[in-house]
């Protein structure tokens, strides 16, 4: 199969996940709850970001057994995270037939210069971004889906909002630029001008654009969808809350009916407590995950 056909199939799976919720899970039991609640996919990992943050140390790809068990119990796509630049972890996940790989800043980066060359893989990749330049560079490397970085494990939506607004606002600016300005813009972002032109033409990223990093309530999901996200990832927000199954279902419904406040009110009743969350300004700068 040609590389371009392969890419279409990779982006194709991302398209199928639109309008859905992808949930972080650490055990087969959680994966089952996620599937039963209507998740479109699960992200298999060893610890949710809130615990990674709390416990410190090096965070790596999840244990093989955990991923295998999760694959066994659910029929929805299973995703897993690798460290930035760690193509060997990615090769292993591909051989295990994981459906999607998240090259993620939530784990400790393995390479401080290079991201994985994602064109080499048959399995699709999602990567995080804080702005349009970062998003387009990851797409140039072969990412089939982009998500905001937000600030994982914070339970605080402010960073995801910032990143989504930066991406969408920048695209709107591109739409008013002439060819010369687009060229200069492409140089500044370090990406091919054709990719920048295509983005301007489409008025959105050329691959599905999802939200992640700090979503904790149905209203958070709705907010991100209204800002331009096409689906949401919920990490610690579900299994760090008081009643994961109820909250998971509520966030799924909020994502489908993100423009309908009546649905949001209905699903937000009797939710139990949300994860506690952190003030971004109180996180020491060297502990921010998004700068990785």
């Amino acid at each position: 199969m040609k590389n371009s056909d392969n890419y279409k199939i990779k982006v194709g799976l991302a398209e199928m996940l639109k309008g859905g919720v992808i949930m972080d899970v650490t055990t087969p039991e959680q994966a089952k709850i996620a599937e039963d609640s209507g998740a479109v996919a699960v992200m298999a990992l060893e610890k949710v970001p809130a615990d990674i943050r709390k416990e410190g140390g090096v965070a790596r790809m999840a244990a093989i057994e955990v991923i295998e068990q999760i694959k066994e119990v659910v029929s929805i796509p299973v995703m897993a995270k690798v460290r930035i630049g760690h193509f060997a972890e990615a090769q292993m996940l591909e051989a295990m037939e994981v459906d999607f790989i998240d090259e993620s800043e939530v784990l400790t980066p393995a390479d401080d210069k290079y991201h994985i060359d994602k064109w080499d893989f048959k399995v699709p990749f999602v990567c995080g971004c804080r702005n349009l330049g970062e998003a387009l560079r990851r797409i140039s490397e072969g990412a089939a889906m982009i998500r905001t970085k937000g600030e994982a494990g914070s339970g605080n939506i402010v960073e995801a909002v910032r990143h989504m607004r930066l991406v969408m606002g920048h695209i709107r600016k591109l739409q008013n630029m002439n060819p010369e300005e687009l060229k200069s813009e492409a140089r500044e972002m370090g990406v091919d001008v054709e990719l920048v032109k295509k983005t301007a033409e489409l008025g959105k990223l050329p691959v599905p654009n999802f939200a992640a990093g700090g979503i904790a309530t149905p209203a958070d999901a709705s907010l991100m969808m209204q800002l331009g996200a096409e689906s949401v990832f919920v990490g610690s927000g579900i299994f760090k809350s008081d009643d994961p199954a109820v909250r998971a279902k509520a966030i799924v419904q909020a994502t489908t009916h993100f423009r309908d406040p009546k649905v949001l009110i209905e699903v937000s009743r009797h939710l139990g407590g949300a994860m506690k969350g952190l003030d971004i300004n109180k996180i020491p700068e060297d502990e921010l995950l998004q700068i990785r």
Binding site: M1, S37, E97, T256
Partner: protein, 201 residues
């Protein structure tokens, strides 16, 4: 004085030739494909919206999720009743939803077409593929790129089901009366042949 009668049609009452079930999945791609055929479509998320369309596409997505949402939004009964009278086309997950049997307790299909389906029958994402094949419909033939993504297989077809396309020995498109199913994603290819065919059903 002759009174001029102006009939105002509220946009939320307009009737559409075709609607797309938009609970979850690649409904945007169907919207775009229909636009290429010159048709505006309505995204359907509620029973009221279903009343405003003449035919419906159930897009690709996750059938477990769609199955859940259909019940939460009280759409199961209205969808089944709609499909007894009006044209409905299911692609991929949509095919599973229209089948008689999904071979999986997680998905209770609408039983609108006499076929059985097997979910993810080609395997996980690394086994997803695309292949060019000639499709002939309504006397028109086109070579189309058939894109299969974690696709289902049709494991049985009833006597009254018309097979419309096969690929490597598998039935990949079929029709029974007003119900059309395809295991692949025509909305991911350039061709609008199948969308146009559906509009004539």
């Amino acid at each position: 004085m002759v009174e001029k009668k102006i009939k105002l049609v509220r946009t939320d009452e307009k009737i559409y030739e075709v609607g797309i079930l938009a609970l979850q999945g690649d409904f945007e791609l169907h919207t775009q494909a229909l636009k290429r055929t010159g048709h505006e479509s309505l995204l359907v998320k509620t029973p009221d919206e279903l009343k405003r369309v003449k035919r419906l596409i159930i897009p690709g997505g996750e059938s477990t999720t769609v199955n859940k949402l259909v019940d939460i939004y009280n759409l199961r009964r209205p969808l089944i009743e709609f499909g007894r009278k009006n044209p409905v086309w299911g692609t991929c997950a949509g095919l599973i939803m229209l089948a008689r049997d999904s071979n999986d307790p997680r998905v209770q299909p609408f039983e609108l077409i006499d076929i059985d389906a097997a979910r993810n029958a080609y395997g996980r994402q690394v086994h997803s593929f695309s292949k060019k094949s000639k499709i002939s419909l309504n006397g028109r033939s086109e070579e189309i790129e058939l894109v299969f993504i974690r696709a289902p297989k049709i494991t049985r077809v009833g006597d009254n089901v018309q097979v419309l396309a096969e690929l490597d020995g598998e039935i990949v498109m079929a029709r029974e009366k007003n119900i059309l199913v395809s295991a692949f994603h025509p909305e991911l290819s350039e061709s609008t042949l199948i969308h146009e065919y559906f509009l004539t059903m």
